[in-house]
Symmetry: C2
Subunit: 224 residues, 2 copies
Amino acid sequence: MREAYQSDLRHLVDDLVDMASMVGSALEDATAALLEGDLGLAERVIAADPHIDERQIDLDSKTVELLARQSPVATDLRLLVASLRMSSSLERMGDLCAHVALVARRSHPELAVPEQHRAQIQKMSDLAAAALRDAAVVITDRDLALAAQVEKNDDELDDLQQQIAREIGKGQDYTNTQIVDLTLLIRFYERLGDHAVSLVRRVGFLVTGDAVDTLHQSTDVPEF
Amino acid sequence: MREAYQSDLRHLVDDLVDMASMVGSALEDATAALLEGDLGLAERVIAADPHIDERQIDLDSKTVELLARQSPVATDLRLLVASLRMSSSLERMGDLCAHVALVARRSHPELAVPEQHRAQIQKMSDLAAAALRDAAVVITDRDLALAAQVEKNDDELDDLQQQIAREIGKGQDYTNTQIVDLTLLIRFYERLGDHAVSLVRRVGFLVTGDAVDTLHQSTDVPEF
């Protein structure tokens, strides 16, 4: 019984890592669809998002069932609470990838991202994807040093968002629609990074028991 | 003992409603600061956001403590799980209000919102504020008919966002910065509405036990 319970807890972690992997694929595909104007790929990312949502519902049901059946305390309880929150962040990250794909679809056959910002957008996507991969490692290994690195790396994503926003503000050669799309896109990638930071902070909560829900306050509000 | 526990559960609901009221004030103030170019008011909204964050941390600590101490099942367990999620939505709504105030601050002494969009932005803010007030009633009274109304009303907020976005796309008289700011602002208000919908769906989960985490899938992704 106890053994089955421990195995259930391990499966939760596996499920979270699986969800992270699904989101990682969605992110890479969404950015490829965006930058290459690949409508079919954009459609596939949009169509796949409900599968990520289903994984969250499934994972959360298991978590609530474990809460009900096992009356966990201490670290096990924290794992279950953290799991509810991490699944929610991952689901939201999936939405953000679908949002990127929707921009790609809406712009088609035009490319939403003007030539001079392509490399920057690819970089933002790469940074967000790396943060997500690192977060999955942090979830599996509870590696708080790597968690700190994920937080630190997020600054680069924020800086890039700011830089692009400044360039848009000063630029001459944009259509209104390009400005709208770029503004949304850089916000989506920045939010993806924020959620990766949120994921690693949940692991911090899990390991140390410290409340860590101040993410938005410290890294989000001051600098959008 | 049992009585104290029931009282603790009622206090959680009161705390959620208090948080909703704090967010409601932040929303009204942020919009007033934005539309009137009131820098002092914008600063106060930004400075107040950490208090909302603290309320969440406090509320979540109580929730986790109740999970640990009382080993709740059935409805009580669902209330605690829903509470964790609702506090997270409310905290995020507070962030979004602070974001609106940040746009007001950044634009000062200019007004971020061009004259022709002022009434629309005020309307978006009013709709989001009404949704939040209704959500607080739903949380207190578990009124699922009102919950359904909140979901329905959210369409109006989405429509307004789409309408403004279309007008921006076609318009001639915008600076790039105005387009960036308006794009962000209408997204912030739309997200505030989404979170209000999320709140009432949590109450639905509480009452019926149905998983309702498909918010983003059904109302958010298709129409950003």
